[in-house]
């Protein structure tokens, strides 16, 4: 689904004219990934279709959306904060009770990009879990390039400025050239692998918590439904699913119920009541 050279040149020209930011070749993946939600919102089936329309019929509002999508929001640590607060305040205390026999948790960061989310999860778990507990985090992304970056655990100065409390920076990172590298202690409980959520998923042991944030927005309703269905098979029956702030299972997959936690929401598999238990009348 990589962008054609002509489409990339069109976008790069537009962004340079409107923002003076230069998109160098090699950023095709970034352009495609950032523009997909914009294209979907405009009713186009793909980024290529959206850009073809824009080239035929210039539209200042759409131009602005393209420029905004490409010039803001590099991934933050503890992005949106509330899901991490919910994890610490509600989800982990409950899991510490229910998983006491095994003292072990499995977490999936299902669209981990360059790794800020799984590393933020690891920091949260290290702080919140009682001594003697183990955890494992699986970080997956559709981009092999992103998985390579996440796996290396190296971040630029600009990246570590984004939402990472400085105490966490000095505790979990060491200087590496002009940037920072996560410590082996933080890295060791995380496995990274390339994974396409819209293809059949590999077999994995079920997870206690799944972070599937800001990824459903890229899909049409049918694909959302199919992704939620396959993800739910990998979530334990009493597990927790976190979506992005603008995403919901409501109207897409009714096998989940929404649970409000503070200023955010999580989703849990609905308890399946066996037909015989309903009784008559």
């Amino acid at each position: 689904m990589t962008l054609s050279a002509a489409d990339f040149a069109f976008v790069a020209g537009l962004v340079r004219r409107e923002s003076a930011i230069v998109l160098t070749p090699g950023k095709e993946y970034l352009v495609e990934a950032r523009l997909l939600p914009v294209a979907r919102q405009a009713g186009a089936a793909s980024v290529a279709e959206f850009l073809a329309g824009l080239q035929r019929r210039p539209d200042p509002t759409a131009n602005r959306s393209v420029v905004d999508a490409l010039t803001t929001n590099e991934t933050s640590w503890f992005r949106d904060r509330e899901p991490f607060t919910a994890l610490t305040d509600v989800v982990l205390p409950e899991l510490v009770t229910s998983r006491a026999p095994t003292r072990s948790l499995r977490i999936w960061s299902a669209a981990c990009s360059s790794g800020q989310e799984p590393y933020s999860l690891a920091i949260t778990l290290q702080q919140a879990l009682p001594a003697g507990w183990r955890y494992h985090i699986t970080g997956t992304d559709i981009s092999t390039e992103m998985i390579k970056r996440a796996s290396a655990g190296e971040f630029s100065q600009v990246e570590v400025n984004r939402g990472l409390p400085v105490q966490q920076l000095v505790h979990h990172f060491t200087r590496s050239g002009t940037g920072w590298k996560v410590t082996p202690a933080l890295r060791e409980n995380i496995t990274f692998q390339q994974l396409n959520l819209t293809a059949p998923l590999p077999s994995m042991a079920p997870f206690d918590v799944i972070f599937l944030r800001n990824v459903l927005i890229y899909f049409d309703v049918e694909t959302k439904r199919s992704v939620l269905r396959s993800v739910s098979r990998l979530l334990r029956p009493d597990g927790w699913l976190f979506l992005g702030a603008a995403e919901t299972t409501i109207g897409v997959d009714e096998s989940f119920e929404r649970v409000a936690i503070g200023r955010t929401s999580a989703y849990r598999p609905r308890v399946q009541v066996p037909a015989g238990a309903l009784g008559k009348g």
Binding site: S76, R81, N161
Partner: protein
């Protein structure tokens, strides 16, 4: 809410004034730590936030943070270092002296706002 920006670069003072000004802070500024302490001594109420450069003439940022932490009157002021000093040892020294946060230059306004949000100094929704 009131902030004081302490930096010997006029350009940096303007940038920081604009960022925290947009968040609704009333902003004062000083060009080094000594000037800031003098300014603070004359203020009726102490600012909620100080954004402090490290390398400045007369009194540097680390000395200012140390002095501010020793001053009972300035106890409630949140101290954020904003500096090009990016070595781990510098950060650790600043935290040990009493800084609450540390922003490394260059930074984006989003990064600064996120740091202030971590400290509970951004009204809900202002950083979205």
């Amino acid at each position: 809410m009131h902030a004081i920006v302490i930096d010997d670069s006029r350009a940096m003072r303007l940038i920081l004034r604009r960022i925290v000004g947009q968040l609704g802070f009333e902003v004062s500024d000083a060009e080094d730590g000594r000037a800031a302490l003098d300014l603070l001594a004359g203020m009726e109420t102490v600012p909620n936030l100080a954004l402090v450069d490290w390398n400045m003439p007369n009194m540097n940022g680390l000395e200012f943070v140390t002095a501010a932490r020793e001053d009972e009157r300035l106890r409630d002021m949140t101290l954020v270092m904003v500096t090009t000093e990016s070595e781990q040892s510098h950060i650790v020294r600043a935290l040990a002296a009493g800084a609450h946060e540390y922003v490394i230059k260059p930074f984006t306004s989003e990064a600064m706002i996120e740091k202030l949000a971590l400290l509970g100094l951004v009204p809900t929704g202002a950083n979205s």
